[in-house]
Amino acid sequence: MALPQTLVDEFDALVKNYPERRAALIMALHRCQETLGGWISPQTMEDLGAYFGLEPVEVFGVASFYPMFNLRPTGQHVVAVCHNISCDLRGAQDVIAQVCETTGAPLGGTSKDGRWSVRSVECQGACANAPMFDLDGVYHEDLTAEKVGRILGAVR
């Protein structure tokens, strides 16, 4: 299997932004995760390796360094709750408990029906609007129990 042509075209433009091609690797990993099933599969590592002239294991080395890259498939929706200090002081633990309970996903895992993954993450830079979580790439801030219920309930 190879990368879809649309991504190849995108990467061909992207690598021109840098004096060395491999500099585009992290941007490319983001695009792969966004468009190829929400994670970086071994196949994606091989394909990116081939594209950038790197060994697949070098791609793995980079991808595994960065917490945003999923090296395993996730649920259909991903909730990342901030558990750092400003959020912890304003009830992040309660948010985590509520999110896990509502979604049926264990913390750091995926619900049995495959719909939800829940994780807790380090500071997301929403400290003045704590507590917060990121749902599928969108920040939800100033969370309360009522608000968490409403946001999760609205997800189809």
Binding site: A24, H30, F52, Y66, L107, G108, R119, G125
Partner: protein
């Protein structure tokens, strides 16, 4: 608090300012055009910035003009020159650059271009943390608008100054906010900080001269060039000049990002901006500038929030992210959270940091969960002293050791009591789920 003039967040208050037309209407790009049209030289921009007293707003507080002047002489050094904008805001408690990028992205572009002009760079990379999707999209879209208007790219505003701006995304690693970790990451590698020297100005991105500046730092440049170094230097205290952004979070009534001149006290910010402590409670402890600086006691809130005053109290200004904790807060819990963070974010290159952060985290966790051991306080101290100062490639190890030492010093009795009772008297009811990282 005395009345003061604002400038950093003025435009951000206008709806639609993230678009070029509104930014222009509010006077945007005038400073850049003035510099390019009136023949002010890059050297003059550096000198003016030095005179202004502007210090970096990313945490280290180094003189910006001085940093720019470390770039080698362009007439003798033919290598390409780069400016990297550090928009990898991830110091716990810090959320100020995000406001600028979301609400005033052209202000960042104008500041970046003036800074690039000063150091004679032809390319700027804006490294935005991956989680900041809206910030990234707003800045990327502003770059496209500015390019279409002739303000980015070849012959900017009809001058002979050409400069490209490229957008780049991080992917969740705190260490990439360290300037050499950022450069590694920009080159498509793991974000392992580099040994210094060589410093970035001598050999940075792709072995070329590079300057790394924080978002808020370069955001000040257009104001300094428009209104002059004397105006800027007239605001603040002897060694801290201008206005700055304070993020205040934790147990306060009105957490937020506020613009203030240097010279105000933490107490004034807490009471007059953040509406005081919540629930009528007292301030027990606080971080003045993110979790990497020393904790202060509640009674230290009378301190002026600037570089020298905080240093005199044994802490530092850091990113001016005030994290406020009320008198119901458990210090063991606070340190469990902080130590877990550094354990998770250590890149693992240096053994003091890799092992040290892990041990700090384990020990604070067991103290907070009623399993502390009699020697734990002494062990924490000896570990922290083995991790800092200056024992590792970068300052992450120091950043873990500093709050540890302050917590052990200021709140020793409380920690000892947790160990003695084999429970944390101030613990909130046990959360249902233990908190662990993503993988």
């Amino acid at each position: 608090m005395k009345a003061f003039e604002t400038y950093l967040l003025d435009r951000a208050k206008t709806e639609g300012n993230h678009q070029l037309a509104t930014y222009r209407k509010l006077g945007g790009y005038k400073s850049l055009e003035k510099v390019l049209e009136t023949g002010i030289t890059p050297q003059q921009v550096v000198e003016e910035t030095k005179k202004s007293g502007l210090r970096g707003r990313g945490g280290a507080g180094f003189s910006t003009g001085m940093k720019w002047s470390f770039m080698p002489d362009a007439t003798k050094d033919p290598r390409p020159r780069y400016l990297a904008i550090n928009a990898d805001e991830s110091e716990p408690g810090t959320c100020k650059d995000r406001v600028l990028m979301e609400k005033d992205p052209h202000g960042l572009i104008e500041g970046s271009l003036l800074s690039a002009y000063a150091i004679r760079a032809k390319a700027v990379y804006i490294y935005v943390r991956g989680e900041y999707r809206l910030s990234y999209d707003r800045v990327a879209s502003a770059v496209r608008e500015a390019r279409a208007a002739g303000l980015v790219g070849k012959n900017i505003a009809g001058s002979d100054f050409s400069c490209e701006i490229f957008m780049h995304k991080g992917a969740g690693a705190y260490i990439c906010g360290e300037e050499t970790g950022l450069m590694e990451s920009l080159e498509g590698k793991r974000g392992h900080p580099r040994q210094k020297p060589p410093f970035p100005a001598q050999s940075g991105l792709w072995q070329s001269p590079t300057t790394v500046n924080n978002v808020e730092t370069v955001f000040n440049a257009p104001f300094i060039m428009e209104r002059g170094a004397a105006w800027f230097a007239g605001i603040g205290t002897p060694n801290s000049k201008g206005n700055f952004l304070v993020g205040i979070s934790g147990h306060v009534n009105k957490p937020g990002v506020y613009e203030l001149p240097f010279g105000v006290t933490a107490h004034e910010i807490l009471e007059e901006k953040a509406g005081g402590m919540w629930k009528g409670r007292k301030l027990k402890a606080w971080f003045p500038g993110g979790s990497s600086c020393a904790l202060l006691r509640g009674s230290d809130v009378d301190v002026v929030l600037d570089h020298d005053s905080l240093k005199a109290r044994g802490s530092s200004l850091g990113t001016a992210a005030m994290v406020m904790m009320d008198d119901h807060t458990s210090i063991a819990r606070v340190m469990e959270v902080i130590a877990r963070f550094y354990e998770h974010e250590s890149c693992g290159q240096c053994s003091q940091c890799r092992e040290g952060t892990q041990w700090l985290s384990q020990i604070f966790r067991r103290i907070a969960h009623g399993r502390g051991q009699p020697d734990d306080i002494a062990t924490l101290e000896s570990l922290a002293l083995g991790m800092a100062p200056g024992k590792t490639i970068c300052a992450l190890s120091d950043a873990a050791a500093i709050p540890t030492l302050s917590a052990v010093k200021l709140f020793k009795d409380e920690l000892i009591e947790c160990i003695r009772q084999q429970r944390d008297p101030l613990a909130s009811p046990a959360p249902k789920y233990a908190s662990v990282g993503a993988h």
